[in-house]
């Protein structure tokens, strides 16, 4: 059974690019959304194995307030019902220190900077995160 990846991305061209790469080179099932509530719901429903999260989101709101990818990830990682799903930050914010700052602030599992020069690297990271999650102890109430 193929793994399911949820892509949170506001730029349609980039979202489409992710979808193409991950379905054709990696055999993943892909969903694309900008809606944080949808992300939470899907994870709680157990239909997601990994989340690829953009940081700058122009249209995303949660509880009526605009949120960015870091805030969504933080929310996911604080919630016991969602924190077990690995989150990969994929962002064009790639200044010096951004990686450490984002991982620290959001609690995300990994970070990859745009432009993504190597699709194989992306796939490798995704594979690692999913297999690591398979070894991790699932939440008690699940």
């Amino acid at each position: 059974m193929s793994q399911r990846i949820l892509i949170v991305e506001d730029d349609p061209m980039n979202a489409k690019l992710f979808q193409l790469v991950l379905t054709r080179k990696g055999n993943y099932k892909i969903q694309i959304t900008e809606d944080p509530a949808y992300v939470i719901r899907e994870i709680q429903a157990g239909t997601v194995d990994l989340v690829i999260m953009d940081v700058s989101l122009s249209n995303s709101t949660l509880d009526g307030l605009p949120v960015d990818g870091l805030q969504i990830t933080r929310r996911l990682k604080r919630d016991p019902t969602t924190r077990h799903i690995p989150v990969l930050l994929a962002t064009a914010h790639a200044m010096k220190g951004s990686k450490e700052k984002f991982l620290r602030e959001s609690g995300a599992d990994d970070y990859i900077s745009k432009p993504i020069v190597s699709a194989d690297d992306l796939l490798q990271r995704i594979e690692t995160l999913i297999s690591k999650r398979g070894h991790a102890v699932p939440p008690a109430d699940r």
Binding site: D11, L17, V21, R24, S58, A92, A94, K114, I116, A119
Partner: protein, 807 residues
């Protein structure tokens, strides 16, 4: 009477004269005892002589009387009868009886007579025999012819010559008597017999005894008188001596006190004091130790008649109960300590050091005690022959006390002088006032500050000079003091000349010698200068604070600029990387042949082209801004109509507006809008504004209006939309370089956010101004442009809109 159990010689020699040259108490006593004894002895002798004489007289009288009685009896006896008795020597016959009766009668007639008898000569010479007897005591019967015991009777022989009596009394168990004898002679004068009579001596002895007892009483009285007189005299003499001694001591103390009042160094005074003490006491060798207040040890302070070696030997050891130094022991015990002859330790040291004291000298150490604390020790040395008596110790103690007081007073005086000179010379105001608030003392500083040369401060009310507060109705100082028991703080001083100055004062209660709080003492200083300085400092501080604030503001601005610049770089990087991602990603897909169809390959290539175009826009924006920043943006200004440029910009946005389903309307006047313009730059401005309006509007319309305003002559262009609007608080930041409305990573709608900054700059370079207004979020936005109307030959003046934030 003080007793001194001493067998030593009276004070003599140079070492220890009697203090005043007077005889000692002991001498006086001895003299008076002797005189009294002599007087008593004399009186005794006189009384004895008189008594002996009188007794002898009485005795003689008794003898004469007894002899006369014997003679009378003898005369009464007939001589012839006696002769007969002599012949017969028997106790019978009428003559004998007659004689006997006669004798008995005689005896009975005289009750004093114990017995009467007649004696006749015996055969042997000096032997007398009883011839007749009339005794009172019948038990002692003698008979005629019994020998007369003349053993004790010496006068019997003398009776031959005439009447006589015994010199001494005879006695037996029945009593005592005096015997008298008288001869009975015949006609021829021959002694026939001797009549003896024993007269009871009770009466004679009684009268003698009476006399003697009288004499004894008289003597006893006389003796009492003598002793009393002697005692009285002695007492008076002794009191006189005591008085003299007291006077001497008092004079000595007075002299000592007088010495101590002299001015001079303390050590000199101590030496003079020791001279006075030596003169007063007669002891020449003295040492004075003082206690070091810090270390608590004794130190030799002054000496008299002690050589260097002795002074060396006197270096005391630490004060304690077992100290070998007498002075240290005295200091520890806080009482006089004497070292007597034969006391052992220490003496020989001084014997070696002070030869004139001889072997084993006496030493007396007396502490000067003040508040239960030894402050000094006075030590005296005397030869072995001169022991220290209670009087000496008392005297030395007085001297020590006087010396201690003197030393203390000298210390106090020097402290007082110090204090007084301080009070004279200090700049601090010192004012003393009584409990009624009337000034009793003011030091020169206070007088300088508060009074003038004519008027002093004495007797002035303190409330008039020092105000706790200048507010009307404020409590006066004295009331504050009475309430709080003191005061410390700032007051206003009102001088006699009615000037005022601020002062910092402290007022405390002064306590007199008896511990009563009897006055107030105010200490204070003028703080006007300080106040001025404080004011100056205050104003400088304010200036500095202002400068600091400005610097802080500038710094904040710089920090903000730096922060926004960093943010700008980050965002620029982000904006460049995002389209690059698509370019690289799609190019990779094509390159690796992961395409399903020719059409898909075409769509990938289109995505690459669109992303690259977007990249170009971003890069152009950044370059424009860089030019704006550097001031190198060049405008080709020329007079012309703005209408074609407006229409072109609207047409460029029409496709996007149609795609979003919003209306795009344009209103321009029929006549040309003549102004100074660079058409390409004006188009850029309008494209930016219209692009924003379309982008931020999801429904409704975007409208652009242009018209010519007459006064002042301006071309106005307005872009309105019904889009999301801008929150009031964010409107002022819109035209600020590098700033973003939202500092988070939520992406702005388009571009780098530099559009409005570049727009504003371009508008200004064309001499116009730009402003933006929005009623708030969701209420649409309205941007207004105003350009001056072009006039022939006039330079377009660049104006600034004061409501725009220029950085």
């Amino acid at each position: 009477m003080k007793t001194r159990k001493s067998g030593s010689k009276a004070p003599s020699g140079a070492h220890a004269k009697a203090p005043s040259g007077q005889p000692s108490t002991r001498e006086i006593r001895r003299r008076y005892v002797l005189m009294t004894a002599l007087a008593a002895a004399f009186a005794g002798a006189v009384v004895y002589g008189v008594a002996a004489h009188v007794c002898e007289q009485l005795h003689q009288e008794s003898r004469i009387r007894v002899a006369a009685l014997a003679a009378t009896i003898a005369a009464g006896l007939p001589a012839e009868e006696i002769r007969g008795l002599r012949a017969r020597e028997v106790e019978e016959g009428p003559e004998y009886e007659a004689l006997r009766v006669h004798l008995v009668t005689t005896r009975q007639a005289n009750p004093e007579v114990r017995s009467v008898y007649a004696l006749v000569p015996g055969k042997a010479p000096g032997l007398w025999l009883y011839a007749l007897e009339a005794d009172t005591d019948p038990s002692v019967q003698v008979h005629a012819g019994d020998p007369f015991d003349a053993g004790g009777r010496k006068e019997i022989a003398g009776a031959i010559r005439g009447p006589t009596a015994e010199r001494t009394y005879s006695r037996n168990s029945g009593g005592s008597w005096l015997s008298g004898y008288a001869p009975i002679r015949d006609a021829g004068g021959r002694v026939l017999a001797i009549v003896g009579v024993d007269v009871d001596s009770r009466l004679a002895l009684a009268s003698e005894r009476r006399f003697l007892s009288g004499a004894a009483i008289a003597y006893a009285l006389a003796l009492c008188g003598i002793v009393f007189t002697g005692l009285d005299r002695y007492q008076k003499r002794r009191l006189e001596q005591e008085r003299n001694r007291n006077i001497h001591v008092r004079l000595s103390i007075h002299r000592l006190a007088e010495v101590m009042t002299r001015s001079g160094a303390e050590s000199d005074l101590a030496r003079h004091a020791l001279e006075a003490i030596a003169e007063a006491t007669g002891f020449p060798h003295w040492a004075l130790f003082r206690r070091d207040r810090d270390r608590g040890a004794l130190a030799l302070f002054a000496t008299r008649a002690l050589n260097d070696q002795a002074q060396l030997e006197l270096a005391p050891d630490p004060i304690g109960p077992e100290a070998s130094s007498l002075a240290c022991r005295a200091a520890f015990r806080r009482e006089a300590v004497t070292r007597k002859k034969g006391d052992g330790s220490g003496g020989n040291v001084f014997a070696a050091a002070i030869p004139e004291l001889g072997q084993d000298p006496n030493v007396c150490a007396v502490p000067v005690v003040e508040h239960d604390e030894t402050t000094a020790v006075l030590q005296c040395f005397a030869p072995a022959s001169r022991r220290f008596g209670a009087d000496d110790v008392t005297l030395i103690r007085w001297m020590a006390a006087q010396l201690g007081q003197g030393l203390k007073r000298i210390q106090l005086e020097s402290r007082d002088q110090l204090l007084a000179s301080y009070m004279r010379s200090t700049d601090e105001m010192l004012v003393g006032f009584d409990l009624d608030g009337l000034i009793t003392y003011a030091n020169p500083a206070a007088l300088r500050a508060l009074a003038d040369s004519r008027a002093g401060l004495q007797g002035r009310a303190v409330d008039g000079l020092f105000l706790v507060s200048e507010k009307p109705g404020a409590a006066p100082l004295l009331a504050v003091l009475r309430g709080a028991g003191g005061f410390s703080g700032e007051v206003v001083c009102c001088t006699v000349q009615e000037t005022r100055f601020p002062a910092e004062v402290t007022v405390t209660k002064a306590v007199d010698r008896d511990g009563n709080e009897s006055a107030w003492v105010l200490v204070g200083r003028d703080i006007s200068e300080r106040r001025d300085r404080e004011d100056e400092i205050q104003s400088r501080t304010e200036q500095l604070e202002l400068i600091n604030e400005q610097l802080q503001h500038a710094n904040d601005g710089l920090a903000e600029a730096s922060r926004t610049k960093n943010e700008f770089l980050a965002n620029t990087s982000h904006e460049l990387r995002t389209p690059l991602n698509a370019v690289i990603g799609f190019a990779t897909l094509i390159e690796q042949g992961i395409t399903e169809s020719e059409g898909e390959r075409g769509s990938f290539a289109r995505s690459i082209r669109e992303s690259a175009e977007h990249l170009l826009i971003v890069i152009n924006d950044i370059l424009d801004l860089a030019k704006v920043e550097a001031g190198r943006l060049e405008l080709a200004l020329e007079a012309g109509d703005a209408t074609p440029t407006i229409m072109a910009a609207v047409e460029a946005q029409r496709v996007l507006a149609l795609r979003k389903g919003i209306k795009l309307e344009v209103e321009t006047p029929a006549e040309p809008l003549e102004m100074q313009l660079d058409p390409a730059r004006l188009r850029q401005v309008l494209l930016n504004l219209l692009g924003n309006a379309v982008k931020f509007t999801d429904k409704g319309e975007v409208r652009i209006k242009a018209w010519r305003k007459l006064s002042p002559a301006e071309i106005h262009i307005v872009v309105e939309d019904t889009g999301i609007g801008i929150a009031k608080g964010d409107q002022s930041r819109l035209f600020v370089k590098f700033s973003q409305v939202d500092g988070s990573y939520k992406r702005r709608h388009q571009g780098t956010g530099l559009g409005l900054v570049i727009t504003k700059s371009l508008v200004q370079r064309m001499g116009g101004r730009i402003s933006m207004e929005s009623e708030g979020t969701g209420l649409g936005t309205r941007v207004m442009l105003a350009f001056p109307v072009a006039q022939d030959g006039t330079q377009v003046r660049t104006e600034r809109d004061p409501c725009l934030n220029e950085s």
